[in-house]
């Protein structure tokens, strides 16, 4: 029920490679894809013009096959790549990093290690934005199923669309 509230339809006629999401983690993947569409990264976040847009998953992967819904899609004119990391030290050339629940215990250390990067950190856990994560997914919420730490986004030099910020921010 709670997950159903995070209903974000697929880009339908939009990005032809992305179909309408069906499972809760497909919904999350498409939501993050769209969120990235309306967020600007600094130029330096990409090695060159042909560098891919990297969607990272840190820790135990909760998406499984559901992430396939966005695999191979293009984002900001770049190929979207999904990469898996076991430790924060491995995180490199990443633009969105989904921090799995399995890493909650080490969250302060992880976010500290990513402090001077332009990575949009995403979590789905209590007090994620209070602990300086950028975007926390709140599937139980009706209208805006997420919260943003605007200060953390600014520190990472991410420019999030104003309409997305118009929620309960920190």
């Amino acid at each position: 029920m709670a997950l159903a509230l995070l209903t974000v339809p697929g880009p339908c006629s939009a990005a032809q490679t992305i179909r309408k999401p069906e499972t809760p983690y497909e919904v999350r993947a498409v939501f993050l894809y769209k969120f990235a569409q309306f967020t600007e990264w600094p130029k330096e976040a990409f090695a060159d013009e042909n560098a891919p847009f990297v969607f990272g998953i840190l820790g135990k992967d909760p998406f499984g096959k559901d992430i396939d819904i966005i695999k191979g899609a293009t984002l900001k004119g770049r190929k979207l790549e999904v990469r898996y990391f076991l430790k924060v030290k491995e995180v490199k050339d990443c633009h969105i990093l989904f921090i799995s629940d399995s890493e909650e215990h080490w969250l302060p250390e992880i976010l500290k290690a990513l402090e001077n990067t332009s990575i949009l950190t995403v979590g789905e856990m209590d007090r994620f934005v209070e602990r300086n994560g950028v975007l926390n997914i709140l599937p139980g919420r009706d209208k805006r199923p997420y919260e943003i730490n605007q200060a953390a986004a600014e520190k990472a030099r991410l420019r999030i669309h104003l309409s997305l910020l118009a929620s309960k921010n920190r």
Partner: protein
């Protein structure tokens, strides 16, 4: 009744000059009205097109994130433009958000002529595509 043949040369010349002037004036008026009508239509299409583009831009996020209520609030801003009678947003091929909110879906065409415009009696109907930042179509606006 005095026939034209019986008029003096002076009066004949005056009549011919008057008639020619009247015809010239009428033609000039017709040309002026025609030109005004054409430019007025072009101007109103351009103005409505700009308004549709701005409204579409403002609706990008709520359309993309499936927030019809927020989209309708944005459309309500069109009430400041007294000449706008109705507007709607199509998503997945259906009327998804509209202004005024209470208007029936049947008041809008089932399939709008996206990118085109139509003058119907004294009204203009115009439709434009709504694109996401990657320039993919995510809906359409109809004003």
């Amino acid at each position: 009744m005095i026939s034209f043949r019986n008029l003096s040369i002076k009066k004949k010349i005056t009549s011919v000059v008057m008639l020619t002037s009247c015809i010239a004036l009428l033609l000039a008026c017709a040309a002026f009205v025609g030109y005004e009508l054409l430019t007025f239509r072009a101007t109103i299409i351009s103005e409505m097109s700009t308004l549709a583009k701005i409204t579409s831009k403002n609706c990008e996020v709520p359309v993309s994130f499936d927030r019809p209520e927020e989209t309708e609030n944005i459309l309500t801003n069109l009430s400041t433009e007294y000449q706008i009678l109705a507007a709607c947003i199509y998503r997945d091929g259906k009327v998804w958000a509209k202004y005024p909110k209470g208007l029936s879906d049947a008041a809008f065409p089932q399939k709008p002529d996206v990118g085109g415009h139509q003058f119907q009696k004294s009204t203009l109907a115009l439709s434009r595509q709504i694109l996401d930042p990657d320039k993919n179509p995510i809906g359409a606006i109809y004003i």
